[in-house]
């Protein structure tokens, strides 16, 4: 069956095209019975109205954008899935956009605002060092979800939802120290990074300091920009390279579970055992860590709560433009099979 046009509907109902248009657009100036006939005809013949202005009003005006840095991170996939559900429940449509590492996400947002008619934006992942001037151009409320932002951005112009990355990283490092580890390799973000990676690095260093252990810069290993950030491949390749240097260490603390898994595989491929020879801990608490062998010790972020609260906070800001909130959730240290007390030797 061919699809029919508005003209066909008019012909079938014996009315003019403008009458059909009035029926579709819920215009008051139309006979009730005529309207009923037209709407039934539309249903019967499955006519799909295609009136631009109406569609724009109905749909595009109620869109939320999620701009993500780091698509293949399963931590984000799960966040997006939950957010998508929440947005659909609110009858908004979702515009999902993945932003490459080197791309300016605020520029992308400005472009989207220009093209679509967004009501709000979730920025997911990455680091925010944009100027106040630029952020004010966004004109719609936005929430930074699991993002760290520079102190230079006034907190009253945005909302945020995350864990305290410094504190949670401190917690994990302290845990490893308490197992007797003093030589803990830390897999961190790229050199010069100021994102959550930086906060977690600071937490790592402060915990060592508080435990009376000197920070050894040679044990701090940066992700390699040759490979995807936070990926298993990245963790694998940098750990493989690190092992070749022969530097002594008894534990690894990586700032994501994927990096930790890559590191584990590299350690095993080099002929060592985890955790017998080397303990490995990650961050995020993704499902995969629970099914990995050995189960990865991790700092679990409450992904459900963070995702739901991000959307909730955004909608509150949409309803009340001046309302901005900053919410911090507590992480949970999950003891897996990948860590143990340091070998006495």
């Amino acid at each position: 069956m061919e699809s029919i046009t508005i003209k066909d509907v008019a012909r079938i109902c014996g009315v003019g095209v403008s009458t059909v248009s009035r029926a579709i657009n819920n215009h008051p100036d139309i006979n009730v019975d005529t309207k009923k006939l037209i709407l039934e005809t539309i249903k019967t013949y499955n006519y799909i109205p295609n009136d631009s202005a109406r569609n724009l009003k109905r749909v595009d005006a109620r869109a939320i954008a999620i701009l993500v840095k780091g698509i293949t991170n399963p931590f984000f996939s799960k966040m997006i899935k939950i957010m998508e559900k929440e947005i659909q429940q609110k009858k908004y449509s979702l515009i999902l956009h993945h932003v490459e590492d080197e791309v300016d996400e605020v520029e992308v947002a400005l472009q989207l605002i220009k093209e679509k008619r967004l009501r709000g934006i979730i920025f997911l992942g990455g680091y925010f060092s944009h100027t106040e001037k630029k952020l004010r151009q966004l004109r719609v409320p936005f929430v930074l979800s699991t993002i760290s932002a520079t102190d230079l951005i006034p907190r009253e112009i945005y909302s945020s939802v995350c864990v305290d990355d410094f504190k949670e990283s401190y917690k994990m490092t302290k845990y490893l120290c308490e197992l007797g580890h003093t030589k803990i390799m830390h897999i961190t973000a790229h050199e010069g990074d100021k994102s959550i990676g930086r906060l977690r690095l600071n937490g790592y260093m402060k915990a060592l300091e508080d435990m009376g252990i000197e920070v050894d810069q040679e044990l701090i290993v940066h992700m390699d920009s040759m490979y995807e950030a936070y990926s298993m491949e990245n963790g694998y390749e940098i750990t493989k390279k690190f092992l070749q240097k022969g530097k002594e260490f008894t534990a690894v603390f990586a700032i994501s579970d994927q990096l930790a898994i890559g590191a584990t595989r590299a350690i095993i491929d080099a002929g060592y055992q985890v955790p017998k020879d080397v303990s490995v801990a990650g961050f995020d608490g993704i499902d995969l860590g629970r099914y990995y062998c050995p189960r990865i010790t991790s700092l679990k972020q409450p992904v459900d709560q963070i995702a739901k609260e991000s959307i909730q906070t955004l909608f509150e800001a949409i309803e009340n433009k001046n309302k901005h909130e900053h919410k911090i959730f507590e992480g949970e240290l999950l003891e897996g099979e990948s860590t143990r007390e340091v070998k006495k030797g």
Copy 2:
């Protein structure tokens, strides 16, 4: 800085609003210098034009939708990432929609066509048993990517890109048989499923038959609809339950790597070793399998090629409405560490 309106631009330039509009819309009926002044002012003050009709023409008319069944499957995440890049290169915008298992994806597509102005659709994952009548309502070209479709749908109304699931599954089953396995547990889709899961099940059964091994229905285990389809959790839970029955088996062939990983973890938690006691093989060849311990033997789908070819085929169909193609790619059997010759005894 507050954002400015079209009226502000007009005031600053000392012209009328309609003149600003003409400048923005590249209308010929405007003085060249005036136009230059207006465009410069727009740039300086960062005015964002918000003219619905123009935006609709420029953006919404050039959108491609990807409708995915099964978001957390990393196989699809990777496909989507590649497709997104291809679509961006073609200067189209992407509407990404995840469809729950029980939801009719063609209904979603019809709704999207109504609301957005799509030029084409990629259906990713799932099973297609929709009527020809319904599919013809789509009115835009569509490609079934890694989907099996019933023979009742005329092949000249759609395009498709996939591997031959029957053949690839046959290949893997034959491989396990050649290692000496005769009691191969098969983790397949839900009961009554007609998707790629069914094709892979048929491949499994045919291979056993050709190898002279009787099909044992008790070794065919369906995913549990309590858990997410194709997930590690699903593989874990059904394998755990299967082990409790005490049914003898020496190998597992699961229709996804995630299921295989869940099965591996369940086997290990029950006190057995992989592959010493039980061999495990998966399907898809996702990255994770390479970093898992043991590395998962799998049937690798050429995800890059499938994703790129899906987009390519869609654009060819958009340019020439009558052109529909059906492309089949070859899979590759990756031998990991999770399979070995069957224990003699």
